[in-house]
Amino acid sequence: MTSESLSADLRRLEEIVRLLEADDTDLDQALLLFEEGVAKLRAARERLSEAELKVQRVLEDAAGQLKVEDLSE
């Protein structure tokens, strides 16, 4: 499945930043938005952090079953 949550997190973060930058947000709301924004930012950074690329190979056995096995270069 696609990393929909990263996409959603970034979009919400952009919205929060716009709201915070607008002048008609009161302090209570601004603090709540900021808190939520920090959480989204942390989640997004987590998803953007380094990772080991996973490469797998798909083969079909004699019975017609698909097998997925790790592929080392």
């Binding site: 499945m1 696609t2 947000t25 950074r45 953007l48 990772a51 797998q56 798909v58």
Partner: protein, 397 residues
Amino acid sequence: MRPPSRADRPVDLFQGETALPPDRPTAFSVSQLIAHLKGAVENSARQVWIKGEVSSLKSFGKGDWYFTLRDAESCIRCVMWKTYTAKVGEPPPDGTEVYALGNPTVWEKKGELKFPVVVMLPTAGTGLQQLGKEKVRAALEKDGLFAPERKRPLPEFPAVLAVVTSQDGAALHDIIIVARRRWPRVRLLIVPAQVQGDGAPAALVRAIGRVNRLEGVDLCVVGRGGGSREDLLAFDDERVCRAIAALRMPSISAVGHETDLSLADLVADVRAATPSAAMELALPDRAHYLRHAGSLGSRLAHGLRRRTEVLEARLSRSSDRIRTSIGRRIGDPRALLQRLAGQLEALSPLKVLGRGYSVARLADGRVIRRRADLSAGTPFRLRVSDGEVPARAEGQA
């Protein structure tokens, strides 16, 4: 060296060890054989016209052309030197059907048949291959497989990416390199397939079918590295094109070719020139998104600071107003304190005693206020400003 056998008599390499003539005690050397075959080929067909499709034409130096002429069954390597190509002008595009005049020969160094062309003329029709491709194109187009409204957008952050390609080619290596750099969180599912030769279309169709049977694949790349026109034929195959069109997820074609598009390119949702380019299109760039997240982070902090600064300014204005209004009412707090201390002092009983008054109390501490409080001989204590004096009533008042 004289050919070991006369050109008009067939050579029998295996005519038997038993029958080796005394002047030829060992086997032929390779060059002896080739020299013989060269003689045979050059004698068999002197100058001939042949008809075929040009493919894999490469121009070297100032216009020496190397290419293959082919028909449905066979092909032959050709060379046309610049003296002759000058009369033709531009090199014909791959797939063009031509008449070529030349002397067939054997290229001794490689032991290969070779056709050096001296005259090239275009035939009226286009080449067979080209014709076949046009038929397939028309069929696919009729079924609406090239329609722009069929094109699906690529997912922004694919988590699982299937790649149908040769397991041995350089393409796979490039694909892994780009994935590692751009988006290492992706899971690459390599679905190996033969990508050239007779079995390639069927192998590609099977591999693409496997991708469709896998669950959770977000995007599929189908392709191979660069090759000659013949090497890429499978990507013009109707079955392969229909298999790509039937993929459940968006697809990118990546057929490394130099000139015109393959039909697979027209069917896929997105076309890339090479497998590496396909990966660039398929995967988001981690570095870009890190920068984006960083900039959103600083805007977030700045946004909150601005908000609190506005409030701080308002607060400090209000607190100033409060201070002035209270100040107006109570004046300087030090003066107030002095005034209060004065009032307190005035109320102190010691001050009254200091003026000459005294307080008389019974032994139990009750203050004597009336005559009835005393009888003759009752002891009591008199409190004056600097202490107490014991006393006694003289008689009943």
